[in-house]
């Protein structure tokens, strides 16, 4: 009973969740029952470890912590390695985030008692540099663990970029060197660099399956090429366009390499008029030959006049996102050169209707099943034609209402009927409040 009381003090005034209360009530009733000399068979502390573990797996950490204060056996169960394989550190500062943070004492506890059990770890940090530094501090203490997955996730601004590069690199290298069997690494928006990637490769080349490193400005095309050359099990890769090269594609399609499943490329222009290199059609062809089913996801955040090098040749793109305005002409080229296209999102376009472009896309992109249009214009009849050509394979069709221009054939009120008919389900355009 004493320990239970202590537990309540530890919860610092916050009322513990209902389940715990209930649990505790039952337990205390139980112990009272025992005291009264009733059946000792119901002693909860005699639950086999496996069952206890199983139950604990259903409980959130906080509830497990409360439960651990019930008795010695439960307290031991609390520390079972199985329960500490995954952990998500949340590092937020009150000044920069609305969200709570993992308590520093808990972090200390984990590092002290459970760091060797950790296998699947992620860090969610807010926009403050302090949080990112705290994450690095934790990372550099993970010396006796072998991580399988690591994710560094900035939930707001990319704060890892603010950490001194040397600090970040040394922390990350600790994990690379000690882990030896990393299979998934998500380090988007961090100052990771070529030498640290070499360390990664040297220690984890047999196991690495997933690498996400969009917007890591300190990595060069040679750095990523080294990863592709050595890590033959790599199945998913995310990076910025400036790291994409013909050599990289060829390395990924070498015989030794497993089939690539996903390649995600962000094309971002730093300043207007930036020049972008081109990728040879033969390199893409090699990729498709080697991994016929791979998804090529491309996000474009470019000015209209920067699209020159893109979509002039066939490209095996499957998911295409235009985050900024894209010209009619480029969309025309998309219709000609993207036979594998599955999903297309156009955020904005000029003031001329995209009628022919859409029809062309419907005709040539026979896999297309999802499309979203934002600030564009399409005449109602062309849109109906497009839907008719694609038919029921269009599983997602998200069109802003103001995109559709009524014409002699269809008014806005009529179009949802017509489109619904061809889709085989009821469809409406998306709306924005006109308030």
């Amino acid at each position: 009973m004493k320990r239970i009381k202590g537990g309540e003090e530890a919860s610092s005034g916050e009322s513990p969740p209902e389940a715990c209360k209930k649990l505790r009530r039952e337990v205390s009733e139980e112990s009272e029952a025992k005291a009264a000399g009733e059946s000792p068979l119901c002693d909860w502390s005699l639950l086999p470890q496996e069952i206890l573990l199983h139950i604990f797996q259903y409980l959130p950490l906080l509830d497990r912590a409360y439960a651990s204060q019930v008795c010695r056996v439960w307290n031991e169960a609390f520390h079972m390695p199985e329960l500490w394989r995954c952990f998500e550190f949340e590092l937020n500062q009150p000044a920069s985030s609305y969200l709570k943070a993992t308590h520093p004492d808990l972090i200390k506890q984990i590092i002290k008692r459970h760091s060797n059990h950790l296998q699947y770890v992620s860090f969610k940090v807010d926009s403050s540099t302090e949080s990112a530094e705290a994450a690095c501090d934790i990372l550099s203490q993970l010396v006796n663990c072998s991580l399988k997955t690591l994710g560094l996730i900035s939930t707001a601004r990319p704060s890892f970029m603010e950490v001194p590069k040397s600090h970040f690199i040394s922390a990350l290298t600790v994990v690379f060197v000690n882990s030896k069997s990393l299979s998934s690494l998500k380090i988007d928006d961090t100052p990771v660099d070529d030498p640290s990637l070499k360390v990664l490769v040297a220690n984890n080349s047999d196991t690495l399956k997933l690498l996400k490193m969009s917007s890591c400005p300190h990595v060069s095309p040679a750095g990523i090429l080294c990863v592709a050359d050595q890590c033959h099990g790599l199945r998913e890769l995310a990076l910025n366009y400036h790291l994409l090269s013909d050599e990289l594609l060829l390395a990924l399609s070498s015989e030794k390499h497993v089939h690539l499943e996903h390649l995600r490329i962000d094309v971002v222009s730093e300043n207007p008029g930036q020049h972008f290199h081109t990728i040879k059609k033969s390199s893409w062809d090699a990729m498709v030959r080697h991994s016929p089913k791979f998804n090529l996801v491309m996000y474009f955040f470019l000015y209209e006049d920067e699209f020159g090098p893109f979509f002039n040749d066939e490209i095996p793109i499957t998911h295409l996102y235009f985050g900024r305005s894209v010209s009619k002409e480029v969309l025309g080229r998309v219709g000609l050169h993207c036979p594998r296209l599955v999903e297309l999102v156009v955020c904005a376009n000029g003031l001329r209707p995209l009628d022919e472009e859409l029809i062309r896309i419907a005709k040539h992109c026979t896999q297309l099943s999802a499309i979203g249009l934002g600030e564009c214009e399409v005449s109602c009849s062309a849109f109906v034609e497009f839907v008719k050509m694609c038919g029921r394979r269009l599983s997602q069709l998200s069109i802003m209402e103001e995109v559709l221009i009524p014409d002699h054939k269809y008014s806005l009120d009529e179009i949802h009927w017509e489109v619904s008919k061809h889709l085989g389900r009821v469809w409406f355009p998306d709306m924005m409040p006109t308030w």
């Binding site: 609305y98 971002v268 305005s325």
Partner: protein, 658 residues
């Protein structure tokens, strides 16, 4: 028995279509029209000068109209709870009337006043005239949940009887029967305060662009109806960003104009011109949006915040006071954004496309700052900012609720240029840029330096540099939104982008199978089916009276269960137990010594879904017994749910065996 009425004006500042005021007049010996205002509180409240001016003008107009009827408006200083006991005694009041206020805060305040009136033996009469429909009725028709998609809302509204017809204005004859004595010193005791009295400095205050009051509202209404633009073409191609002499939204906000009067005027003109029996719902566009948000908010006191708001997706917004100030004061360095914020501050109104632009920029588009901060700025500056509509719109525009696609992100350069290619709007509100050519006026930082000098405005000196690289910012934010929504997507697939596949699940441990259901390439169709179910079952034709199922609420319920039972926004397994009836997330509050649940093996979200299903079902079973008509559809739905539950249980069992 003598009947001494007091009509309490709050919103609804008008004499036409005012059913509560009519009740005050009915059979009364005296009627006094009261407005309660606390000047001290007024100065402290977060409401800008334009909104106060509009209110005071509306009160003056009301007082003038009452004078014409040989009555007056009594503006009483103080708080309602202190004022009314005094008035009840002083005037020997027997009846208190006011318009129904559907907002949670108003309902609470009115509840207290009604109770107090009872204690004084004063009869209270409350009438609904602020919204077209009885919101509770809409909620009831939607299985006791507010509809959370606009389509669904329309489907329900189309099945409702028409709104009550507007009542005639109060007549001289009516008023004559119950004129109270107006004392000599009325103007000393009950005058309308000035802006100065409320603590505002008025030197150099430009004349108002929007003049408050019922008379102005009615003038505008007739001009608006004359234009007929809305009948021929609900889609106005060239939208005017400027304050329109026929704009009505601030007048609806203060109730200077009755929404029902507007509704019936529109309807009659449509029927006259189009000779069709009943006009489409789209005719009432704005009116219905207002109604939609009111319905969503009426039973949700946390509607204006993220925390504890069951319909709001928890998004890890940044806190950045400097960036927020730049946005609010029009110093972002993006002329399109700055012009809009300047217009808002100066005039108190901006076009809805402009609202979309600045709201997107502040939240999910560029700055990643909480919609709550933006909402507060609008509350201060925007004349037509209603609590419900303002909060609802901000949630909508920041993709925090109402199932919005988040791919659609407005560019602070391109969107402006598309809306006003000439750039004249910028020149008017950011005059320092007036000499920039059209080509650069939306992106002056890209103009050659010589040109900037020639235009007498060097970016970085005379006008701020853009505060953010939009391309980079939107890339990041799209990614953040994806993170948020991928965690929810096995409850309801929202987005094109969130369904872009990844091998994630195979790199994660087998037991934390959250991701397997959420982002596997196979999941989008199932999730989509969910949305379709929501849409398909709706009667597309407003004339048929098909049953309205509660699919979208069901989905929302799951979504609610999903992120509200988890302790923070991330995919962590739930931290509160299934049996707590209305779990609320408290992301901001540090809970205790062990706050963060790990991403440990958990099947809880699914199980909890089962619990939610059962809860809803039993609720419906109760309803069913009272409503035999609905039985058949309900039966189908129940079977579907049972099948779902079975499948879930199987999944749970299978996963547990691992």
């Amino acid at each position: 028995m003598v009947v001494n009425s007091v009509h309490w004006f709050r919103k609804g500042l008008r004499l036409h279509d005012n059913p509560a005021l009519q009740e005050a007049l009915s059979g009364a010996d005296t009627v006094r029209c009261v407005y309660v205002l606390d000047p001290w509180f007024a100065g402290a409240a977060n409401v800008g000068i334009n909104r106060w001016r509009f209110l005071l003008e509306s009160l003056e107009d009301l007082d003038n109209s009452l004078k014409k009827l040989n009555s007056r408006l009594f503006v009483v200083r103080g708080q309602p709870t202190e004022v009314f006991p005094r008035l009840f005694k002083e005037w020997n009041v027997t009846r208190l009337t006011f318009e129904y206020d559907p907002e949670p805060y108003g309902k609470e305040r009115d509840g207290a006043i009604i109770k107090m009136a009872q204690e004084f033996g004063v009869e209270t009469v409350v009438r609904n005239s602020y919204t077209l429909y009885h919101l509770d009725r809409i909620i009831e028709m939607n299985n006791n949940n507010p509809p959370l998609t606009f389509k669904r809302f329309q489907a329900i509204v189309s099945r409702l009887e028409l709104p009550r017809r507007p009542l005639a204005p109060v007549s001289q004859q009516q008023m004559n029967r119950c004129l109270g004595k107006i004392s000599e010193n009325h103007d000393q005791l009950y005058s309308i305060p000035s802006l100065e009295e409320l603590g505002f400095r008025t030197e150099g205050l430009p004349p108002p662009v929007w003049r408050g009051g019922e008379s102005e509202a009615l003038d505008r209404l007739s001009r608006y109806l004359d234009k007929n633009v809305w009948v021929a073409n609900t889609r106005v191609k060239t939208c005017s960003l400027y304050a329109s002499p026929t704009g009505l939204s601030p007048y609806l906000r203060f109730g200077c104009l009755s929404c029902r009067l507007l509704y019936y005027n529109l309807r009659e003109i449509y029927m006259k011109l189009c000779k069709r029996s009943s006009p489409p719902l789209s005719l009432y566009g704005q009116l219905l949006w207002r109604e939609f948000f009111y319905t969503a908010a009426t039973n949700n006191p946390n509607f204006d915040r993220m925390e504890g708001n069951p319909i709001c997706v928890q998004i890890p917004w940044d806190q950045n006071p400097e960036a927020l100030a730049k946005w609010a004061e029009g110093r972002t360095g993006f002329p399109w954004i700055d012009a809009i914020m300047t217009q808002l501050r100066q005039e108190g109104w901006i076009h809805h496309r402009a609202r979309h632009a600045v709201a997107c920029f502040l939240t999910r588009g560029d700055l990643w700052i909480s919609w709550e901060s933006g909402m507060k700025v609008f509350e201060e500056l925007l004349l037509d900012a209603d609590w419900s509509v303002n909060a609802g719109s901000w949630m909508w525009l920041s993709c925090s609720a109402f199932f919005q696609q988040f791919f659609h992100c407005y560019c602070p350069v391109g969107f402006g240029r598309r809306t006003d290619p000439s750039g004249d709007y910028i020149r008017r509100y950011v005059p320092i840029l007036k000499d920039f050519p059209n080509r650069y006026i939306y992106e002056p930082w890209n103009a050659p330096e010589s040109l900037q000098k020639a235009a007498n405005c060097v970016v970085g000196v005379d006008y701020p540099k853009p505060m953010i690289n939009h391309a980079e910012g939107s890339r990041l934010n799209i990614e953040r939104m994806k993170q948020v929504y991928q965690q929810l997507s096995h409850y309801r697939g929202l987005s094109l982008l969130a369904s872009v596949p990844t091998i994630q699940e195979e790199a994660e441990p087998p037991m934390t199978d959250e991701s397997q259901t959420s982002s596997g390439p196979d999941s989008p169709p199932r999730v989509l089916a969910d949305i379709e179910a929501a849409v398909c079952l709706m009667a597309p034709d407003s004339s048929t009276s098909a049953p309205v199922p509660d699919q979208d609420n069901a989905s929302l319920h799951q979504l609610f269960q999903d992120h509200c039972t988890s302790s923070g926004w991330p995919s962590s397994p739930a931290s509160s137990p299934p049996q707590s009836p209305a779990p609320r997330s408290k992301p901001g509050s540090p809970s205790s010594s062990c706050p963060s649940p790990s991403a440990s093996p958990s099947l809880l979200p699914r199980r909890r879904k089962g619990v939610a299903h059962k809860g809803r079902r039993s609720q419906r079973q109760r309803e069913r017994s009272s409503c035999p008509m609905a039985k058949e559809e309900d039966e189908e739905e129940r079977m579907q749910e049972e099948a779902d539950e079975e499948r879930m249980e199987e999944e749970t069992a299978a996963a547990a065996q691992q």
